[in-house]
């Protein structure tokens, strides 16, 4: 909706026609002019409203961003003091940095594993839940893990995974999936350990989004398909899934970004170990910057991470703003 109206022009037009002043307008007679006509509507009001937040946001996001680039091009001391230009060494060193490349690989692996499990379980859960008798209560109960601080979730699972008194360790051993080794202590299982925590906490989000999508699947299409002889499975694949697509896309992109954003649980669970098996890029960045206080190299890594996130963000915004998908996703929204 546009705020630009032609009221100002209207007032101006009226003022330009002196002949009509004092004219008989039928119902009443205009005997004297108004003291002033309405001023043309200016947009200054809106700018005044917007300015404080924009200035504040520039101070806390734009300025640090440029500071980050500046730091990544210089040698920086432990306390953040600039020690001089160093010919892009921070960046050129990254190319041979095994941990850096490994960090990206692990980040992709971690995100992909989380995503596949969460989408499969989440969509399945939503389909089973949809229209069931206790839908409302169950969804509310399923939401509970999401309200937890990720670092607390990590701490609780650290306790559950513990090799000597953790209940989940006992459970997995009793089920015969795990031998005597501890889940987080072994490089081959540690990744599954952190993926499981993410799946536990964030699958409900996928379920919620999918449920919202399922409510908007056009029932006439589904009915027509059923009349045409499709079974429930065929109906799901042919009608429900294509209609769910924009919702799933949003869910997947959001989860991807959050996997980049949150490392709280991993820091508690493994801290990147054992033998760097879970040192995904953000964890490595955290290590470089706040364990070894190499702020210059940290800045360079952070810059690469930000760049990838911005590209993902562009994708997300495109999905948000795509008219067909926007209509699908927000139709009937309050």
């Amino acid at each position: 909706m546009s705020a630009v109206t032609d009221a100002g022009e209207f007032a101006g037009a009226l003022a330009d026609r002196p002949a009509e002043r004092g004219a008989d307008w039928g119902a009443f007679t205009v005997t004297h002019e108004p003291a002033t006509f309405n001023r043309p509507w200016s947009n200054r009001f809106y700018w005044v409203m917007m300015l404080p937040a924009i200035i504040l946001l520039a101070c806390i996001s734009l300025y640090p961003f440029f500071w980050l680039i500046y730091m990544s091009l210089h040698s920086v001391g432990e306390m953040g003091q600039i020690e001089g230009w160093n010919d892009f060494r921070n960046y050129t060193r990254l190319i041979n940095d095994k941990e850096f490349l490994n960090g990206w690989w692990l980040l992709i692996k971690y995100s992909a594993m989380c995503m596949v499990l969460e989408v499969i379980i989440g969509v399945f859960l939503a389909v089973v839940l949809n229209g069931s008798r206790f839908e409302k209560v169950l969804v509310t109960l399923f939401l509970m893990p999401m309200m937890m601080a990720p670092v607390i979730a990590g701490t609780v699972w650290y306790f559950l995974y513990n090799g000597t008194f953790g209940w989940y360790h006992w459970l997995f051993q009793s089920l015969g999936i795990l031998d005597a080794k501890s889940i987080l202590g072994d490089p081959s299982t540690a990744m599954f350990g952190i993926v499981l925590v993410d799946v536990w906490q964030w699958t409900p989000l996928i379920t919620l989004i999918t449920l919202a999508g399922l409510k908007r699947v056009p029932q006439d299409q589904a009915e027509a398909n059923l009349v045409d002889g499709a079974g429930p499975v065929k109906n799901f694949l042919q009608i429900t899934l294509p209609n769910l697509y924009p919702f799933l896309l949003i869910a997947i992109l959001l989860r991807f970004m959050d996997n980049f954003r949150f490392i709280d649980a991993i820091l508690v669970l493994t801290g990147g170990g054992p033998a760097d098996a879970t040192k995904i890029l953000p964890v490595y960045l955290f290590d470089v910057t706040f364990s070894f206080f190499k702020l210059d190299r940290g800045s360079a890594i952070a810059f690469t991470l930000l760049l990838v996130t911005i590209i993902l963000g562009l994708l997300l915004v495109r999905v948000f703003e795509d008219p067909s998908q926007k209509r699908a996703a927000t139709a009937a929204g309050a």
């Binding site: 909706m1 705020a3 630009v4 947009n43 009001f45 809106y46 700018w47 409203m49 917007m50 404080p52 937040a53 924009i54 504040l56 946001l57 806390i60 996001s61 961003f65 500071w67 980050l68 379980i121 399945f124 859960l125 089973v128 069931s132 169950l138 509310t140 109960l141 399923f142 939401l143 893990p145 999401m146 309200m147 601080a149 670092v151 701490t155 609780v156 699972w157 306790f159 006992w170 009793s174 536990w200 989000l205 989004i209 449920l211 006439d220 919702f247 959001l254 954003r261 949150f262 953000p282 960045l285 910057t289 706040f290 940290g298 952070a302 911005i310 997300l316 915004v317 948000f320 996703a329």
Partner: protein
Amino acid sequence: MASREIVQYRSPLRTAYGIFAVVFLAAYLIWSLLPLFIMFVSSIKDLLEAFQLPAVGDWGNAIPTFFNFTPTFAHYENLFVRENFGVYLQNSLIAAAGSAAISVVLGAMTAYGLSRLEFRFKKDLFFWIISTRMAPVVAVIVPLWAIFRGLDLVGTLPGLIIAYTTFNLPFAIWILKGFFDNVPYAIEEAAMCDGCTRLQALREILPLVAPGVGAFLVLCILFAWNDYLFASIIGSGGAKTLPAATRGLVQPQNIQWGSIMAAGVVTTVPMMFLGLLIRRYLVAGLTMGAVRE
């Protein structure tokens, strides 16, 4: 729902699906709530009782062993008497509420302007705002820490409030803009025709957006409360919050599991209630307004 009207014949397959659905939902419910339940129960267990486990494969003894304890609130007492958790709770409250208040007030003003005004670089402004929100905290924290060190803001509550505002303000702007978009401009126009000024016209529509603004205020509190990275780096020293303090209890030697679980309960329970309170807005909030229920 329309699908209910489709005649469904009872077939063995359908019955099997029904049973399967119930089993699956029950299994997921247990999987989802068990860690929370164990956290609650462990927080009122004595230290030795919390360490009891049945032998591997001994399924029959699992439940008796788990419930074999006498409830004690010693861990909660320990937290608040010896561990200063009262202070941390207060820090958490101030930091979360402060940043949420700043974000929502400034965010609502900006969102209103953005919703009513068309200008040239609006799309770019928008993208900047959302990418600020999407930026990984680990990457943002590097320059922020360097800058805050120079300003002596590390380890102070104002520093933490500003840090939280980096993700709460763009969130508030983005999501409230969608809210203002849904309020017809005609209402303000009508108010202004009645002689209201711009500000008074804005006041006319405030009751319409108030529930949403309130809900997203709560959501901002939730995001800030649950943060750990900013709290551990920017807040380290003078402004320890609950998640950071809980993490601090985990030490290589002498891990006080009872107290840690109690701290987890103290940190989690208020947020669960807040989550229930704004249940209706949760999906919109967690998907940046892209999906509404």
